[in-house]
């Protein structure tokens, strides 16, 4: 993405110095789609990390509202000098154990996901990678070993618009999925897998020895950022499974399996009560469901697109 594609100037153009200043004072305001986030930080290494992976976001000027308020602050006392740490603080409460000071970005990503999952109960939050095409959503629930983040990243680099690699944020009133747009968290081998898959992928610094191993983040594209308020109707449900050496297999999934894969992998399905049940039922009825086994990303993404064109209605305005 060339820099002049940003009429208003992305985070990358703001410059680290200005960004650091903003983080240290009133805070940086980022619009993630579902929520508006305000970040403050006194950890100097954080501005560079943020610049890399939120590069296409334009900070909200003169913000009137933030849903989430987060501070990343260096631990005080001896900790400031001896193995320095950074703390995640929201509304003056420290929610988790501190991270090493140079791991502020993974701490932000992890902590903000937790805040969204706990607080944003006005929508049904499935634990799923979600992408959009033709106005409709491809939903990939996070089953163990599914590699939903890797596949989400790959699809987002092949013309699909990323809504989220973590949340399927379904708004029952709109009957549509909303974007919770954040960098895609790639872990361990999948970092190099995505680098090989798309050498131009904008991947930020690698953080080694986090609680999930090595983590690096893929920056959402300018297009995904600029369309983060465009919702997507239910399109197709895919249960991915990465299997070493496997040929690409796509087979239909019975509705009861589709139901459990959505309901029991959600952040707040139980919290939604009967509304949650109705929403998941409607999703299962409205979306064809497939199981995808794969080892080759190129082949898997191609086969998915093929199936998509056969299955998903392509009317110009899919809204009822």
């Amino acid at each position: 993405m060339s820099p002049d594609a940003h009429p208003a100037g992305g985070l990358h153009q703001l410059g680290t110095g200005a960004l650091r200043q903003r983080l240290a004072r009133g805070g940086l305001h980022l619009d993630l789609g579902l929520v508006r986030l305000r970040v403050r930080a006194d950890e100097p290494s954080f501005a560079d990390q943020l610049c890399e992976v939120y590069r296409h976001f334009t900070p909200t000027e003169e913000p009137t509202w933030s849903d989430l308020h987060v501070s990343l602050l260096r631990a005080t006392g001896v900790r400031r000098w001896l193995r320095p740490q950074v703390r995640f603080i929201s509304d003056s409460r420290m929610e988790f154990d501190p991270f090493p000071a140079d791991h502020a970005l993974p701490l932000l990503e992890w902590g903000v996901n937790w805040l969204i999952g706990r607080r944003m109960n006005d929508v049904l939050l499935l634990h799923a990678g979600t992408l959009e095409r033709d106005g409709r959503a491809l939903v990939m629930p996070a089953l163990p070993g599914s590699g939903k983040s890797t596949l989400s990243a790959a699809l987002s680099l092949r013309g699909w618009r990323l809504l989220s690699d973590e949340f399927g944020a379904f708004d029952p009133r709109a009957g549509a999925f909303r974007a919770v747009l954040k960098p895609v968290a790639l872990k361990n081998e999948s970092i190099d897998v995505i680098r090989r898959f798309e050498p131009g992928a904008e991947i930020g610094p690698s953080f080694i020895k986090t609680r999930k191993g090595t983590v690096a983040h893929l920056a959402p594209s300018f297009e995904a950022v600029s369309r983060r308020h465009v919702t997507a109707l239910p399109g197709m449900l895919v249960l991915p499974r990465w299997q070493a050496g496997s040929a690409t297999v796509l087979e239909p999934v019975p509705p009861q399996v589709a139901f459990t894969s959505l309901a029991f992998n959600a952040f707040n399905y139980a919290v939604q009560g009967a509304d949650g049940f109705r929403a998941v039922m409607a999703l299962v009825r409205g979306m064809p469901a497939w199981r995808l086994q794969y080892s080759d990303l190129e082949d898997a993404t191609a086969r998915l697109l093929e199936r998509w064109h056969e299955q998903v209605p392509l009317d110009s305005d899919p809204r009822p």
């Binding site: 509202w65 308020h69 509304d91 003056s92 607080r119 006005d122």
Partner: protein, 376 residues
């Protein structure tokens, strides 16, 4: 107290918990602030419940309304789960010959009090007579509740020095249950005669469950707050007390008996502190003669001189954009020392603190925190 007191402006938003219409004037910045503070104090669900019941949600800024709706949903889910468990618990315990008493939050819900609506419950507290606590515990374990794994010291702590058995958790729904035989530890300097509480129980809305008498509920709530080790972020306890006093205060005879009951139970200091902070911070209507009588018995002028500022500094809600001020931590530490001295004689306290503070003792406490921490 003479005439109505105006609460400090920083706490004025608390009025909306009783009078939701007062929130209609709030601008966006105000809403942003209140949502952050109320969430931290576990009062957001309560605020949301009042606002929704008054049909005000569509008239509020959309940015604020969704947070209220979201939190109300969460609080409703938690409290529905708690009610579900409590409605079934007596049947699971089988025929018992002794009273089963709901305490605190569960009791407010079981009586349908306003302070129980939209409440975010943490755990369930129930009380049985001391001579039956082993039986009640055995029945709970038989019904699938599980005790936390305790070392020998902690077992002895609960058996001999505490007013409750070790907390139990049910693997199915994860609710924590605290089974009490008294409202304060038996070794505490303030000794409460539990038989007096048991002699004046009242029915709740839930079959087989009883609650303490109105005055005893107020005194328990006050004692629970002012005898506790941690008073930071505890403004909700004052809001509870305010709600109890406003609710029961309209019943004939309530105020007349309150101070006398506090003296009988030995809880006059807690009552005096509760009335002091409720009337100053929440404009709770306390009859002047009751306030005077409580002060005369409850707290010497000299003691109030150092205790009030410590409590003020600790109970005062933190600015959501700042870390709590150092003086709050200092005040909280001082109150902690006072708490421990009031809870146990030094001959018990010093070995207990040694056991808790020795190297390696923190591991279990961290595990407790992790239980409430995010799954992902």
């Amino acid at each position: 107290m003479t005439g109505p007191v105006t609460p400090p402006p920083q706490l004025a938003w608390l009025e909306a918990l009783r009078e939701p219409a007062s929130a209609l004037e709030w601008d966006l910045a105000r809403w942003e602030h209140v949502i952050r503070v109320a969430r931290r104090l576990r009062l957001l669900g309560r605020l949301a419940s009042g606002v929704c019941a008054a049909g005000m949600l569509p008239r509020l800024p959309a940015q604020a309304a969704r947070h209220l709706q979201a939190e109300l949903r969460y609080a409703t889910w938690r409290s529905d789960g708690l009610a579900w468990v409590l409605e079934r618990l007596p049947d699971m315990l089988g025929e018992v010959t002794y009273p089963l008493v709901l305490l605190k939050g569960a009791a407010y819900m079981g009586q349908g009090l306003a302070i129980g609506r939209g409440r975010l419950p943490s755990d369930v507290d129930i009380l049985v007579p001391r001579e039956h606590i082993a039986d009640a515990q055995a029945r709970l374990l038989g019904a699938g509740w599980e005790e936390a794994a305790l070392d020998a010291h902690d077992q002895r702590y609960y058996r001999e020095w505490s007013h409750e058995v070790a907390p139990m958790r049910h693997p199915l729904h994860g609710l924590e249950l605290d089974l009490h035989h008294n409202i304060l530890p038996p070794v505490a300097r303030t000794h409460v005669d539990a038989s007096l509480l048991l002699a004046s129980l009242q029915a709740s809305n839930w079959p087989h469950w009883q609650v303490l008498a109105p005055a005893d509920q107020v005194l328990h709530s006050a004692a629970h707050l002012f005898h506790d080790s941690e008073l930071r972020d505890r403004l909700r306890d004052l809001v509870d007390l305010d709600g109890l006093l406003r609710h029961f205060g309209t019943a004939p005879g309530f105020w007349d008996g309150l101070v006398a009951r506090a003296s009988v139970l030995g809880l006059h200091e807690s009552l005096t502190l509760a009335l002091h902070f409720c009337s100053r911070w929440l404009a709770t209507p306390v009859p002047p003669e009751v306030m005077a009588a409580a002060r005369a018995r409850g707290l010497s002028r000299a003691k109030a001189l150092w205790l009030h500022p410590l409590l003020e500094a600790t109970l005062w809600p933190a600015d959501p954009d700042r870390l709590p001020p150092r003086r709050q931590a200092l005040a909280a530490q001082t109150l902690l020392v006072r708490h421990h001295l009031g809870r146990m004689p030094l001959s018990l306290l010093l070995p207990h603190l040694w056991h808790k503070l020795r190297p390696g003792a923190g591991a279990r406490a961290d595990a407790d925190v992790a239980a409430d921490a995010p799954a992902r």
